[in-house]
C-alpha cells in the first residue's frame, strides 16, 4: 500500500523504452531503400561516438540526413500528441477527447496558416511566429469549445463536447480553406494542414519538439494526481481540495503548447492522442501516474509505425501520415463510443 505502488515501475519503463527503441531502429532502416538493421545500428552508433563509418556500408547519408531527423520528429510528435490527448481525456473525463476530435488541432492550424499567409513573424525568430500563433489559436479554441460545452451541458457529457468539437473543426476548416485558396503562393497545400506530414523535417524541428515536450509535457506529468481527481469528477476534485480553476488553466495551456508546436511543424495528424492513451490504458489502467509516462512511449511507437506504413505502403508514393492515423483512429473512435454507451445504459 505504499505510495509508489501507483507510479510507473522501473521495469515497465525499461520494457516500454525497449519497444520504442526497437521500433525506432526499424523505422530508420526501412523505407524506399532498405538498410539492414545491423548496418543502421552501426551507422547510428558510430556517428554518435564520432567513429568513421565503414565503407562497406552504403547509404549512410539517407539514414543520417533524411530518415533520422524525420523519425525523431515523428517519435517526438507522437509522444507529445499522446500526452496531450491523455491529459485532455483526464481533465474532461471523456475517453474520446483529443486535439483532433475537439477541434484544437484545427484551431492551431488556422493560427499557423494565418501567421504564414499574413507574414506574422517575431523578429530574429522567423519560425516562432507560426508556432506562437498556433499555440495561441489552440488555446483560444480550447476556451471556446469548453465554454460552449459548459453552457450547453454543465455535466460535460461525452456526446455534447464531441459534437461541439466536430462542428468547430468544420467551421475552422472552411476558414482555413478560404485563406489557403487566397494565399496559395505562400501556404503549403491544404492536405498538409488537414492530414499532416513530417516528410523533410529537420533536426532543428526535432530540437523545438523536444523543448516543447520537456516543458509542456513536464507540466502535465507533474499534474498526474490532479488529473486523476478530474478523471473521477470535477466536483469531487474540488471537494478533496484541488484548485480546479488553476489546474484546468495550467493543463489547457500545456495541452495547447504541445498541440500548437506539433501542428506548426507537422500539420494536423489526427487521432494520435485518442488511439495511444486508449491502448495504453488497457495495460496500465486509468491512473495518470502510470498512464501518462506509458503514453509517451506508446505514442512515439504508434506514430513511428504509422509513418512507416505511410512511407512504404504505396512505395514509391508516400501517403500523408494523417491518412494512416485517421483510418485507425476513426475505427477505434466508433469502438470506444459503442462500448462506453453500452456501459452507461447497462
Amino acid at each position: 500500500m505504499s505510495n509508489n505502488q501507483e507510479g510507473f515501475r522501473i521495469y515497465e519503463y525499461i520494457a516500454f523504452a525497449g519497444i520504442t527503441l526497437f521500433t525506432f531502429a526499424l523505422c530508420v532502416s526501412m523505407g524506399s531503400v532498405s538498410v539492414p538493421i545491423r548496418d543502421t545500428i552501426t551507422i547510428l552508433g558510430n556517428s554518435i561516438w564520432g567513429i568513421p563509418i565503414p565503407a562497406t556500408i552504403t547509404s549512410p547519408a539517407i539514414i543520417l540526413s533524411i530518415r533520422l531527423p524525420r523519425v525523431i520528429c515523428v517519435a517526438l510528435t507522437g509522444a507529445s500528441l499522446s500526452l496531450a490527448g491523455g491529459a485532455m481525456q483526464g481533465l474532461l473525463r471523456n475517453p474520446l477527447a483529443d486535439g483532433s476530435t475537439l477541434g484544437v488541432s484545427s484551431g492551431a492550424s488556422l493560427g499557423a496558416v494565418i501567421a504564414i499567409a499574413f507574414g506574422i513573424t517575431i523578429p530574429s525568430l522567423p519560425f516562432a511566429g507560426t508556432m506562437v500563433m498556433a499555440i495561441a489559436f489552440a488555446f483560444i479554441s480550447l476556451i471556446i469549445i469548453l465554454s460552449l460545452a459548459y453552457k450547453l451541458d454543465y455535466s460535460l457529457a461525452t456526446n455534447t463536447i464531441i459534437l461541439i468539437g466536430v462542428i468547430y473543426s468544420m467551421f475552422i476548416s472552411s476558414i482555413l480553406s478560404l485563406i489557403i485558396t487566397f494565399a496559395s503562393d505562400k501556404v503549403q497545400h491544404i492536405t498538409f494542414w488537414t492530414m499532416g506530414s513530417l516528410a523533410g523535417s529537420s533536426l532543428n524541428n526535432a530540437r523545438v519538439l523536444l523543448m516543447a515536450l520537456v516543458t509542456f509535457g513536464g507540466v502535465i506529468l507533474l499534474h498526474a494526481r490532479e488529473l486523476n481527481a478530474f478523471a473521477i469528477g470535477e466536483e469531487n476534485a474540488r471537494h478533496i481540495g484541488v484548485n480546479v480553476k488553476r489546474v484546468k488553466l495550467i493543463i489547457m495551456i500545456a495541452v495547447s503548447g504541445l498541440i500548437g508546436v506539433c501542428v506548426s511543424i507537422g500539420g494536423t495528424i489526427g487521432f494520435v492522442g485518442l488511439v495511444t492513451p486508449h491502448m495504453v490504458r488497457m495495460i496500465t489502467g486509468p491512473n495518470h501516474k502510470r498512464l501518462l509516462p506509458a503514453s509517451l512511449f506508446g505514442g512515439a511507437t504508434f506514430l513511428m509505425l504509422a509513418d512507416l506504413v505511410a512511407r512504404i505502403l504505396l512505395n514509391p508514393l508516400e501517403l500523408p501520415i494523417g491518412v494512416v492515423t485517421s483510418f485507425i483512429g476513426a475505427l477505434l473512435f466508433v469502438y470506444i463510443f459503442y462500448t462506453s454507451r453500452r456501459k452507461t445504459h447497462a
Partner: protein, 251 residues
C-alpha cells in the same frame, strides 16, 4: 464552529437563498429540510464555496472564502448526491485521493499520517475486500460508500451531505447514515445534511433548519422545528396525517 451570517444566493434576479443565518457546533447534526426549490442544496454549495454568494460564512471565526482550496478541504468535506465515474479506477485509488489536501503541491510527499487515516477509513466502511476492484463494477450503494471512505480519509471537521442516499435502496441508506453517525461521535466534528425524507431527518438529526422559498421558517432542536404547524404551512398539506397514513400500512 460554523457560523453562517446573512447568506444570500442570487441567480440573476432570482433569489434562491434569502438572508439565511445559522450556526453549527461540535457534535451537532443539522438537518436542512424543505420542499423542492427551497434552496437547501444551494446553502451547502455556498458553504463549500461552489457558488457565488453574499453574506459571510465563517469557520472558527475565519472567513471561509479566504482559505486556499486544499486548506478548505481539510476543514470541510462534501458527499455529493451521486458520483458517476468514467474510468476503471480501483476503490483504493479513489479513497487515497482523499489525502490530496495534505500534500497538494507538485513536489510534496505524502505524510506519515496518511496511511493511518486511509486504513481507518477502509476499516470503518468495511471496504477492505473491494480495494483492488474497479469502481465501474460497483453498485450505486457501494460507490457511495467508497466516496464516504474518501471523505473519512480526508478527515474534515465539518461534513456536508447533499441527499447522500437519494437513489439508494433501504439497506444502503441505513448503512450510510449509521456510518456518519459513528463518524460524528469523535470530538470536534459536525454534520450538516440536506434531506428530503422527513422521517430520516428525524431519526438522525439533532437540529433542523426548515426552509421555505429561500427563507428560514424555523430553526432549532429538530422536534421544535418539525411541528405540524410549521410543516403544514411550508409543504401546503397535512404532513403529519400523510406520515401516519404511510406508516399505518405496516402494522
Amino acid at each position: 464552529m460554523l457560523e453562517v451570517k446573512n447568506l444570500t444566493v442570487q441567480y440573476g434576479n432570482l433569489i434562491i437563498v434569502d438572508a439565511v443565518s445559522f450556526s453549527a457546533n461540535e457534535g451537532q447534526w443539522l438537518m436542512i429540510v424543505g420542499p423542492n426549490g427551497a434552496g437547501k442544496s444551494t446553502i451547502l454549495k455556498a458553504i463549500s464555496q461552489a457558488v457565488p454568494y453574499s453574506g459571510k460564512v465563517e469557520f472558527d471565526n475565519t472567513n471561509i472564502a479566504k482559505y486556499k482550496s486544499h486548506e478548505r478541504a481539510k476543514i470541510i468535506g462534501v458527499l455529493a448526491q451521486s458520483n458517476f465515474i468514467n474510468y476503471s479506477f480501483t476503490v483504493q485509488e479513489v479513497i487515497r485521493l482523499g489525502r490530496y489536501a495534505y500534500a497538494p503541491g507538485i513536489f510534496s510527499r505524502q505524510s506519515e499520517g496518511d496511511e493511518r487515516y486511509i486504513a481507518e477509513a477502509i476499516e470503518m466502511t468495511g471496504l477492505g475486500p473491494l480495494l483492488s476492484q474497479s469502481v465501474l463494477t460497483l453498485s450505486g450503494g457501494e460507490l457511495q460508500r467508497v466516496f464516504l471512505a474518501q471523505l473519512f480519509a480526508q478527515n474534515p471537521r465539518l461534513l456536508l451531505l447533499d441527499e447522500p442516499t437519494n437513489h439508494l435502496d433501504l439497506l444502503y441508506q441505513k448503512q450510510i447514515f449509521a456510518l456518519i453517525k459513528e463518524w460524528l461521535k469523535a470530538p470536534g466534528r459536525a454534520v450538516i445534511s440536506v434531506v428530503h425524507d422527513l422521517s430520516l431527518a428525524k431519526a438522525y438529526g439533532k437540529q433542523a433548519l426548515l426552509l421555505d422559498k429561500g427563507k428560514i421558517k424555523a430553526l432549532g432542536q429538530i422536534d421544535e422545528v418539525l411541528t405540524a404547524k410549521n410543516l403544514d404551512v411550508v409543504y401546503s398539506m397535512d404532513v403529519y396525517a400523510w406520515m401516519r397514513a404511510k406508516l399505518g400500512q405496516w402494522k
